[in-house]
């Protein structure tokens, strides 16, 4: 019973945050709504007994990535977005699209409504189980994913570096951010 109430509570907050994200006109309000969505998703993970995933969700998404989003919005001082007139193509394609998507999701859910409940801690959720899965059972996919992330980082560094100094040898994700940050600080020293 408590479980169901909590599920509806976090689910409600999550959906409300997502709707608010789209409705808000100022980017910083949208970004903050996204933080609410991430945090309530962490609540849902906790209800499944996946406490490690919940903690990582808060630390990585709500705590680190969204802070960077907000930092960028603050740094660029992005203003309120302007509402353009209603696009007729968007209306004609969007509303039927949403309707079809909703019907599909509802159909799939109803068709599989006979699936039995999953009791708490039935699925791997404690750090030890996650470690076992990541570093033992699925070691190769995990390593491949990390190489993929490395490629993305190197791409970001190359894109961010100035044309004359492409490919610094000590490429790190820190590099790009640090340059931005030094710009923030350097402006004040030059005064």
């Amino acid at each position: 019973m408590v479980h169901l109430i909590l599920f509806l509570f976090f689910g409600g907050i999550c959906v409300a945050g997502a709707v608010n994200l789209l409705m808000q006109r100022h980017p910083i309000n949208s970004a903050l709504s996204l933080v609410v969505v991430m945090a309530s998703l962490a609540g849902e993970y906790l209800l499944l007994g996946a406490e490690f995933v919940a903690a990582i969700q808060v630390i990585v998404y709500a705590g680190a990535i969204m802070v960077l989003f907000i930092f960028t919005i603050m740094l660029l001082n992005a203003g309120e977005e302007e509402r353009t007139g209603k696009s007729r193509v968007a209306m004609m394609l969007g509303i039927p699209g949403v309707a079809i998507g909703g019907v599909l999701v509802a159909w799939v859910l109803l068709r599989h409504s006979s699936t039995s409940d999953v009791s708490m801690f039935a699925l791997p959720g404690v750090p030890h189980d996650i470690a076992q899965l990541l570093f033992h059972d699925f070691l190769l996919p995990f390593e491949v994913t990390s190489v993929l992330v490395l490629i993305a980082i190197m791409g970001a560094v190359v894109l961010a570096s100035k044309p004359e100094s492409i490919a610094p040898t000590h490429a790190e994700p820190a590099q790009k951010k640090e340059e931005v940050l030094e710009l923030v600080g350097a402006g004040k020293e030059r005064r």
Binding site: E51, M74, K177
Partner: protein
């Protein structure tokens, strides 16, 4: 009485007691800071209100409540009001997973741990909560709509993002050595072996990396650029007055208490220490005393460092964080992992 009622009553009592102690500690760390800084500068500090100025925090509290609460017309009102609340809520709720003693017996009510709640991911919860605290400061700077506040907020968020990486990496060796993420297990693991700080040199390096990054995370000297008085007036809380300003102050000092607690728990054996008697009451109280003593030492260290070291320059801050602290933390992590993997029977890594 059913189980759930007992649990609820014990939890409420524990939470109320812990929050009360935390807020008192916060108020008196301000007193400690003023007193110690005064002694360092050969002054007296607060002396007028009560003996040794001990009632000064109370007087300050009353003053904050009765001061005029100004809200400038140019601020973004919702976020302007929300940000001190965000800062203080996350700062205080981090204490919820901090254990401060062993198990005690409550007679007919059974036994309970001296901790609001024991999670097996306690350390991650503290990290998650403190990482959310950045929002309070960043949004305060932005919503004030003033250039000093904005620059302060930008500096604070940049600094906290940068040093959070080293902070996290300096904690992983501790997790590896204890084989657990639960703060209680980490302390108990140190009781059987030795304190992580004395695990030379790996634990010692991890401790110093942690301490330095934590000082940067809490925006304290030598990393207090977000509120550098000579250039930014007061940084992110320039436009705040009365209780809203006090909330930022409370958030800063509660974060300091959290950092002091974590240093104690992770590197200095938590509540472990010699107990000189067999008396049941002394056996129950002595560990808590040890814990408080260690936390007090770290609070004192905070003040000591603040009034001893000058402030970094901004480029020095970033270069130090990314080019020195981060590589050291990574190297230390790899070394610790190697040592534990090579000598598994020495460290007896927990299986579950």
């Amino acid at each position: 009485m059913s189980n759930i009622v007992t649990f609820a009553i014990i939890s409420i009592i524990k939470s109320a007691a812990v929050v009360f102690v935390l807020l008192t500690a916060v108020a008196y760390s301000v007193w400690l800071e003023r007193k110690v800084s005064a002694r360092i500068q050969n002054r007296w500090g607060p002396t007028k209100v009560g003996p040794f100025g001990l009632l000064q925090p109370l007087a300050d509290g009353v003053k904050f409540i009765f001061k005029e609460d100004l809200t400038q017309p140019y601020v973004y009102k919702t976020l302007y009001i929300a940000s001190p609340i965000i800062a203080v809520v996350f700062a205080i709720s981090a204490i919820s997973v901090i254990p401060f003693g062993g198990e005690i017996s409550l007679g007919p009510l059974g036994k309970t741990y001296l901790q609001i709640t024991d999670l097996n991911i306690g350390l991650l919860v503290v990290l998650g909560i403190t990482s959310m605290g950045v929002y309070g400061i960043a949004l305060a700077g932005w919503s004030s709509n003033s250039k000093y506040s904005l620059l302060g907020g930008l500096r604070a968020s940049a600094q906290m993002i940068s040093y959070e990486v080293s902070l996290g990496l300096s904690l992983i060796p501790v997790m590896i050595l204890a084989g657990s993420l639960s703060l209680r297990h980490i302390v108990e693991a140190q009781a059987h072996k030795h304190w992580n700080f004395f695990f030379f040199p790996l634990g010692t390096i991890a401790f110093f990396v942690y301490l330095i990054s934590a000082y940067a995370e809490t925006n304290r000297t030598p990393f207090d650029l977000p509120e550098a008085e000579s250039e930014l007036v007061a940084g992110y809380h320039t436009e705040y007055s009365a209780m809203k300003f006090a909330m930022f102050f409370m958030a800063e000092y509660s974060n300091m208490v959290t950092v002091a607690c974590l240093s104690t728990l992770l590197f200095f054996g938590g509540w472990n220490g010699p107990v000189f008697s067999d008396n049941a009451i002394i056996v129950a109280i002595m560990p808590v005393m040890w814990f408080c003593l260690k936390v007090f030492f770290f609070m004192f260290l905070y003040v000591w460092v603040r009034w001893t070291l000058p402030r970094f320059r901004y480029d020095q801050l970033m270069a130090f964080g990314w080019k020195f602290l981060l590589p050291v933390a990574i190297a230390n992590l790899i070394a610790t992992a190697l040592v534990v993997a090579l000598y598994p029977n020495v460290f007896s890594v927990a299986t579950k």
